[in-house]
């Protein structure tokens, strides 16, 4: 199989990640539950992972690295935990349902004033629209770092400056950016960065988390056992315990920790560079094929690209249903892609692809040019 669905999850993981999970399953007790050797193995793995992840994102407080099952859980914790009744919230058309659905829910449950920055037909956001929508009443801005549909990169630093001028909290969905590029949360001015472990970080599924800047108070989404302050009736107020009720996935976290080691050893700049080159090559070749329409902003190809672009190319062939094309790629060529709506309803509407969907090709550090050539030939044959 040629696996080009890395935007959904990276299939090929470093052996060190798999080994770390297996070793953890053989040696770890329950983290933060007592002081015998097995529990300390788990507590040590979790603690070391917090420290590594904090450093990886240039974040000062390892204790404010909160582990979750994925970025959807992280975003739900952040969104539900900071937004209060009647708050004004600004988000964008480019968001995934992991942002949209919690916000729509709060629109009904907490009567929030929900505003969206519109995306243009290339899926781009205009910074001046943030200036117009983020006002003195705005409490929270929620935006993705990178679109999971177009691969367009949002200008988080500028959005942060706008949000902070109005004293709003900036929550960033880093599902597609964590591990695929250098993310410096201090430099970018992010208050809450939500990430998943199983995509660009090359960790196991069931891992993820959020980084919570100092001074940001998040109400817990879950309450329960933590191994801490048993006789208190309230969930402990200190991070990370405040947001981590229940047994952690320390086996997965051990794998995620090994994945961070892999990324550090490989070099995040090398990963970004290789993925960008793969993307450029694929884009340049497929745009020579009649009948193919690519979505997103590719004006950067051949030019300097200050924000860069993710290793994602979404396209359609003529008026063919995206599901049929993806199925043909899978059945006839052994190529795995993602068709349909990609949990990004507002962006598909902005792109005009609500009914056709799109076929998303997404690459990883392990993708080869030979694999791309096979995909290019397949697209030529289907389009002919």
């Amino acid at each position: 199989m040629i696996y080009l669905d890395n935007g959904a999850t990276t299939l090929y993981k470093p052996d060190s990640v798999i080994d770390a999970v297996v070793n953890a399953m053989k040696t770890q007790g329950n983290a933060s539950r007592g002081a015998h050797g097995a529990t300390l193995n788990a507590s040590r793995a979790v603690y070391d992972a917090r420290v590594k992840i904090a450093k990886f994102f240039n974040f000062d407080k390892p204790s404010n690295v909160i582990f979750t099952c994925n970025s959807t859980e992280a975003l739900n914790i952040a969104i539900n935990g900071v937004i209060k009744v009647g708050d004004r919230v600004v988000s964008t058309d480019t968001e995934h349902n992991s942002v949209l659905r919690p916000l729509y829910h709060l629109q009904k449950e907490r009567n929030i004033d929900l505003q969206f920055v519109k995306a243009d037909t290339k899926g781009l956001l205009n910074i001046s629209d943030f200036e117009a929508l983020v006002d003195d009443k705005t409490k929270v801005v929620v935006v993705n770092h990178i679109s999971n549909l177009t691969g367009n990169v949002n200008d988080i630093k500028s959005i942060s400056e706008i949000a902070h001028r109005k004293n709003a909290i900036l929550i960033v969905d880093g599902s597609q950016s964590a591990g695929t590029r250098k993310v410096d949360v201090k430099e970018l001015g992010i208050d809450i960065y939500c990430f998943t472990g199983h995509k660009g970080l090359y960790g196991p599924q069931g891992t993820g988390g959020l980084l919570v800047a100092d001074g940001i108070e998040i109400e817990p989404l879950k309450r329960g056992g933590s191994g801490v302050k048993t006789y208190e009736e309230e969930q402990p107020s200190e991070y990370p315990t405040r947001l981590e009720a229940g047994t952690l996935n320390s086996h997965g976290i051990a794998g995620l920790s090994a994945a961070i080691d892999f990324l550090n050893e490989t070099g995040i700049d090398n990963i970004e560079k290789k993925e960008l080159e793969l993307t450029k090559y694929f884009y340049n070749e497929i745009t020579k094929i009649d009948g193919i329409k690519v979505y997103g902003d590719f004006a950067w190809v051949g030019e300097d690209t200050p924000l860069g672009h993710a290793a994602i190319v979404s396209l359609n062939i003529k008026d063919y249903d995206s599901g049929e094309v993806s199925d043909a790629l899978s059945n006839d060529y052994g190529i795995a892609t993602r068709p349909g709506a990609h949990c990004a309803p507002r962006l598909h509407m902005a792109l005009g692809t609500k009914h056709q969907g799109a076929i998303r090709f997404s690459f990883s550090y392990f993708t080869t040019y030979e694999e791309l050539d096979t995909a290019i030939i397949a697209l030529k044959e289907i389009a002919s």
Partner: protein, 90 residues
């Protein structure tokens, strides 16, 4: 550790604070052991582990705690409620 009738314990709000200080003490070659917290002394309102310190190191720890920026809840003395293996061969 030794066979004293009591030990000292550094108590924490979270496991992360305990692990951070454990690593820092190890770096400074100050003997310490991650141990279950002496629940009775803190009414169960702490994290489940503490750092056990030998009585002979009390002054060293006092000085360390005055200087460190790491967070902890309190430094307490706890008498042993029994001696492990005391009567093994009786």
């Amino acid at each position: 550790m030794d066979n004293s009738e009591f030990h000292y314990f550094i108590i924490f709000d979270t496991y992360e604070e305990a692990m951070a200080m454990h690593d820092d003490l190890d770096k400074s070659s100050i003997t310490n052991k991650i141990s279950p917290a002496p629940l009775d002394l803190v009414s169960g309102v702490c994290c489940g582990v503490s750092l056990m310190i030998m009585p002979s190191d009390k002054e060293v720890i006092d000085k360390y705690l005055q200087k460190t920026n790491l967070k902890y809840m309190k430094f307490v003395k706890a008498e042993r409620t029994f001696k492990p293996k005391r009567d093994r061969y009786c």
